[in-house]
């Protein structure tokens, strides 16, 4: 369970208000999305939660305890927008890098990663270089690298932002199914940052809307679509109403002075 209380962050010695009074909560087993126009500070917020940065004000609580940045770094599975697969490592060595860094011997780390290659649709590409993979495969490899750390709370920063529309839609469905399967075995939660209302409605149980300068939560929308999210559910009239509502509100906040 993650809770933010009145989190604020400024840059340029207080001149740029990146975030102001942000409060939100993500319960166990919940998938929450954070939607806002670019520059609204949603990635900054995710970095704060991940422990990559420290808020100027407010608290970040994990399971009821206020944790400092150092402690938070070890708590979340963090997946950035770029795949960040390193060209000097094979796909398998990239995927197992997190485990290797955490002290697992290389052979054991590779073995643990390899066991998941089939499930993640990467079988046969173990010894390839990352650039030999398609964009969608690279993102799946990056997701596997995150999941292998065995941290039940995932922070996803526009993970499909750089993909074309078709691959993006495929990966959304894929991620939704993967998480349903993973969370059926052991409970997890996720916070997704995206600028795409469609993506938020496809994946999330609840959507927080953010406005820019300063970044603030302006509204919360529950996505009461059945799970697992079939294509019928995500393209239903109700889903479209939710998407339209989110889009309308996002445009409003983006245009507000």
């Amino acid at each position: 369970m993650l809770a933010l209380r009145d989190v604020a962050k400024t840059y340029d010695s207080g001149n740029t208000h990146a975030l102001d009074d942000v409060s939100l909560a993500v319960g166990d087993g919940e998938f929450v999305a954070l939607v806002g126009p670019s520059g609204c500070g949603k990635s900054t917020l995710l970095n704060l939660i991940a422990g990559l940065d420290t808020p100027d004000d407010g608290e970040i609580l994990v399971d009821g305890q206020a944790l400092d940045a150092e402690q938070r770094l070890a708590r979340f599975g963090y997946m950035p927008q770029e795949d960040l697969l390193f060209p000097w490592r094979s796909v398998l060595d990239n995927v197992s890098l997190g485990l290797e860094v955490q002290g697992l011997p290389r052979a054991a780390a590779r073995e643990r990663a390899l066991a998941q290659f089939e499930t993640f649709g990467l079988a046969g590409f173990e010894d390839r270089r990352p650039r030999e993979l398609s964009g969608g495969m690279r993102q799946r490899a990056a997701f596997l690298r995150t999941v292998l750390l065995d941290r039940p709370f995932l922070l996803l920063d526009e993970p499909f932002g750089a993909l074309d529309a078709i691959t993006r839609a495929q990966l959304q469905t894929w991620l939704s199914e993967m998480l349903a399967e993973m969370w059926a075995q052991s409970r997890g939660s996720a916070l997704l940052v995206t600028h795409d209302p469609q993506e938020a409605v496809t994946l999330a149980d609840r959507v927080y809307l953010m406005s820019p300068r300063p970044g603030r939560i302006t509204s919360v929308i529950d996505v009461d679509l059945p799970r697992p999210r079939s294509e019928a559910a995500t393209t239903s009239e109700h889903a479209h109403r939710l998407i339209d509502e989110l889009r309308r509100q996002t445009e409003q906040t983006a245009l507000a002075p």
Partner: protein, 258 residues
């Protein structure tokens, strides 16, 4: 690491062809103008006379190349160490950078004889002069490569719980290798030249001494022979660096498509 035929043609054949054109032009001029060989010998005479003196030249090559090996190796080790330290400490970088730049403005022919006064006729002054020629490109290349690591990559490693050493080992150093090798290639080009400058300031043997002796006895053909050998050695060193680069950074050269 397969070379395609077109690459082979433009990469190897073109420079050899241009070399031949220059040599033929040079030899023709020498024949037509009937210029004295003390002033300008033709390439044929240079090669013939150099082969005649091959024994002597090879001895000097051995001396010069051992200076190059020692000097370049020490210079590289120092540059790698300083490059790392510069990347670790911003105050150190600010303090050292102007000195690095300044070291390239030292007029080496002027300072080299002083080094002989300080350190004698042995290998030490040669190593220092080779260092003056090669240290800066290597340290600047390495430091630039280390500094170019993207923030997002560093962030990812932090979420893995990576220590500073792990960040360098897994990300920063491999990412810096291409820039490091750019510096090493420049260094390799100048390393032999550095040894020659060091020898000219004071030495008993080595290619610099050989060429100077031949110049004083008006054996211009052997002076040119020495120059050819210096060029060939520099080129060999350069190619050795390029080869090492291919071995150590294979991901930049194997091109398999998805």
């Amino acid at each position: 690491m397969k070379l395609r035929r077109a690459d082979l043609l433009s990469g190897v054949a073109a420079p050899i062809l241009l070399c031949l054109v220059v040599l033929i032009g040079w030899q023709s001029y020498v024949w037509i103008s009937d210029i004295r060989p003390q002033v300008l010998p033709g390439p044929i005479r240079i090669v013939r006379e150099s082969i005649e003196s091959a024994d002597v030249i090879v001895g000097h090559v051995g001396v010069t190349m051992s200076e190059v090996a020692g000097g370049f190796a020490i210079s590289i080790c120092g540059a790698l160490l300083l490059g790392l330290l510069i990347d670790l400490s911003t105050p150190l970088r600010r303090a050292v950078y102007p000195l690095i730049v300044a070291s390239q403005t030292v007029p080496i022919p002027v300072i080299a004889p002083l080094m002989v006064v300080w350190f004698g006729f042995g290998i030490v002054p040669k190593i220092i002069v080779i260092g003056l020629f090669t240290f800066v490109p290597v340290v600047l290349g390495f430091a630039a490569g280390l500094a170019a690591t993207e923030r997002s990559a560093t962030d990812l490693m932090r979420t893995f719980g990576a220590s500073r050493w792990q960040l360098y080992r897994y990300v920063k150093i491999p990412a810096a290798l291409p820039d490091l090798f750019t510096g090493l290639r420049v260094g390799a080009i100048y390393a032999v030249l550095g040894a020659i400058f060091g020898e000219l300031a004071g030495a008993v043997d080595g290619l610099g001494i050989f060429m100077e002796q031949q110049r004083q006895s008006f054996r211009t053909d052997l002076v040119f022979g020495g120059i050819f050998v210096v060029t060939a050695l520099s080129y060999a060193l350069f190619l050795a660096v390029v080869l090492t680069e291919r071995l150590l950074t294979p991901w930049r050269f194997d091109r398999r498509e998805p």
